[in-house]
């Protein structure tokens, strides 16, 4: 099993149609990951396993992958709302010997893009995340990544690795009619996780700083007390300081300062 290839697919219900499997599906990014995984499996003669974490209906995503050419499929039985770390841990235990793991960079619901990163950590694999272009050659895989400031990073990728790709990296092939027919009865392995899966809160809320205790304002009358609370009429106090520190120390200093000033 030295060349095991895995693709992770998230089957997502459409927002606004929470109970309706007719409108469910996987993201274009997951489709791109499946296509690249298939191409890599063909090139290396490896076996491709498609994995999803979700309820029984999510098996349609796996059957579609089988129709397109995946060799086998595993569904890890857990709610769709399972948090990213537990999703990654479950996938990692089902595919601990995986060498090449392909994911879409974002799912269509949460879209935090964190499962591939957790997965790389859980597998002790290297990671190439948010990939915009993939090329295969005899020496292996070259992946181009989006980094800050519109720049690109070109990575030579070596196994074991988790690669998460954007939707435009590849277009999923169309399943042949024969394969599609066969996929409707193909077996799907179901894994029931031993540990309870924690669910994550889905609603995204604006950042709210923690409440902080303020001393009773001083001042003889109400107006003065309001003034002292709101700094009205005084020059606005801005926080700044210039220091030269090593990156780790600088980060720690910034956090400390933000905490002092009451932002955290």
């Amino acid at each position: 099993m030295s060349n095991r290839i895995v693709v992770c697919l998230k089957w997502v219900l459409q927002a606004g149609e929470p109970d309706d499997a007719r409108f469910a599906g996987v993201s274009p990014a997951d489709h791109a990951a499946l296509e690249l995984a298939l191409q890599w499996a063909e090139r290396t003669g490896g076996q491709l396993t498609a994995i999803t974490v979700g309820p029984p209906q999510a098996e349609t995503a796996l059957r579609d992958a089988i129709a397109c050419g995946a060799s086998n499929a595993v569904r890890i039985d857990a709610p769709l709302s399972t948090n990213s770390a537990d999703v990654a841990a479950a996938i990692a235990s089902a595919a601990h010997d995986a060498k090449w793991v392909w994911c879409g960079d974002y799912s269509m619901d949460n879209g935090s893009g964190s499962v591939p990163a957790f997965l790389a950590a859980a597998l002790s694999a290297s990671q190439a995340l948010g990939v915009t272009n993939v090329t295969f050659d005899d020496s292996g895989i070259t992946a181009t990544r989006r980094v800050d400031g519109g720049r690109r990073e070109v990575l030579a990728v070596h196994a074991p690795v988790v690669i998460s790709v954007e939707g435009a990296t590849a277009r999923l092939r169309r399943a042949s009619l024969t394969a599609l027919r066969a996929s409707t009865t193909a077996p799907v392995d179901v894994v029931v996780p031993i540990v309870a899966m924690r669910t994550s809160q889905h609603t995204i809320q604006p950042y709210r700083p923690r409440a902080r205790a303020l001393a009773m304002p001083s001042g003889a009358n109400v107006l003065d007390r309001v003034r002292s609370l709101t700094t009205t009429g005084t020059a606005v106090a801005t926080h700044h300081e210039v220091e030269t520190l090593a990156p780790a120390a600088a980060a720690a200093r910034i956090v400390d300062a933000l905490r002092d000033w009451g932002y955290l």
Partner: protein
């Protein structure tokens, strides 16, 4: 995988019923649907009459994804400023075994296809059939699809691919097709709170209303409809295709006019448009029907022009379900005796002829033409509305005129010849009577 006994093309009501019957009888069935799920591409006005399902799905009403049970049925004649309505309601249609119901097609068709799948049929979606496979004698032996490696062979092909069926045409079952045999149906679905709909239409709970309208399509021959769903109202028109093309009017303009009519506007005011959709209807009934079978193939539902579009009746789904079932039964018979030639499939034509499917079409064969005729469309609504207005108007100190006088005067004013009136009345009586 081995070739199936039966290929059904199309996951509409005809296709699903054909697949249910054939699969339950033990045949291997593949149903091919081009949409991502059965029903995803399908639209209609809004009322299904599923009585024909009584045997196939006992107590279907307990499960079918219906919106409202139609307990009020109105037929409305409109002029620009008048409306004359015959309004019928009955409690009977609001309880089992029910009569008609409004339902959304993506719900209804997907539900029905679920039974095909449960019966063992293989339902393959996102797969478009692109043509027929024939043997050297010309018999249909399968289909081609838009998928790689996409040819599929079977003993029998049942084409349920809907109106303007390319498969029926390719098989040579239609001698000729003519645009004048089609109407275009267009519809807006408008969202309103359930309580508002209940109040405006005078219904409660799951009760619903079906209004058919004549005289609301301007110079274009056709008709209109208003149907209530749970929290939407469907408003649409059906337009004679050739007239629509000749007049260069946009169909949405005609819906807009209908929505603005003083008799309709208060019903739908404030509704938020959720969907606009359009679809062809095979309107001409017997005049356009194809041959129903050829070697290795049958055609059912709208693909066989079996939709009954006779004015106050617009029934296609029940005709599609019935013809699909009969095609399924015939396929079972033919595969058992190992004769899938046109001769082996004659049972299909017999079943259609002996049941409401062709009996209703024969009975109402003159109705579509009558209802879409210029007189019914453009003269009678005005005449009838004026008669009603005169009858109910109080012209004191003038004494009330006799009904005979009103009839004569209004007939003349509308420019209707007595001869034509009698002839149309007679045709109407022969059709509907």
């Amino acid at each position: 995988m081995s070739d199936p006994d039966v290929i059904v093309v199309g996951g509409g009501p005809a296709g699903s019923c054909a697949a249910i019957v054939a699969a339950r009888a033990g045949l291997s069935v593949v149903l091919l649907e081009r949409g991502p799920f059965p029903g995803s591409k399908n639209m209609y006005g809004g009322v299904v009459y599923p009585r024909i399902l009584d045997d196939l799905i006992p107590n279907w009403w307990e499960e079918a994804p219906i919106q409202r049970w139609v307990t009020r049925r109105a037929t409305m004649l409109l002029t620009e400023t008048q409306a004359l309505t015959v309004d019928f309601r009955t409690e009977a249609w609001g309880k089992a075994p029910y009569n008609g119901a409004t339902a959304y097609r993506p719900d209804f068709d997907a539900w029905l296809a679920g039974y095909a799948e449960a019966a063992g049929a293989q339902v393959l979606t996102s797969t478009t059939v692109t043509g027929l496979l024939r043997d050297d004698k010309g018999a249909v032996v399968g289909v081609t699809t838009d998928r790689p490696d996409g040819d599929l062979r079977a003993r029998v092909v049942i084409a349920c691919d809907g109106v303007n069926s390319f498969l029926a045409k390719e098989a040579g079952l239609y001698e000729h097709t003519d645009a004048k045999h089609f109407t275009l149906g267009v519809k807006e679905t408008l969202a309103l709170p359930k309580e508002v709909i209940d109040e405006r239409f005078g219904v409660r709970g799951r009760e619903g209303v079906d209004i058919e309208i004549v005289g609301c399509t301007g110079g274009i021959n056709g008709g209109g409809f208003v149907y209530t769903n749970l929290d939407t109202v469907a408003v649409g028109v059906v337009l004679k295709l050739t007239k629509l093309a000749a007049q260069a009017t946009r169909p949405e303009q005609i819906i807009a006019n209908l929505k603005g009519h003083p008799a309709i506007a208060p019903l739908i005011e404030g509704g938020e448009m959720k969907e606009y959709s359009a679809h062809l209807i095979p309107e001409a009934g017997l005049r356009m029907m194809p041959k129903m079978t050829t070697d290795g193939m049958m055609v059912a539902g709208d693909a066989a022009a079996l939709c009954l579009a006779a004015g106050i009746w617009l029934e296609g789904v029940n005709f599609a379900m019935a013809s699909g079932m009969y095609a399924g039964e015939t396929a079972v018979e033919a595969v058992r005796v190992n004769d899938v030639s046109a001769k082996g499939l004659v049972g299909y034509q017999r079943r259609l002829s002996n049941t409401f499917v062709l009996k209703d079409h024969r009975k109402l064969r003159r109705a579509p033409e009558l209802v879409l005729s210029d007189r019914v469309q453009h003269l009678y609504p005005q005449m009838m509305a004026n008669i009603a207005e005169r009858m109910f108007r109080v012209d004191n100190p003038e004494p009330k005129p006799g009904l005979r006088r009103i009839l004569r005067q209004e007939r003349k004013r509308a420019g209707v010849r007595r001869r034509h009136l009698w002839r149309d009345a007679f045709t109407g009586f022969r059709s509907y009577g």
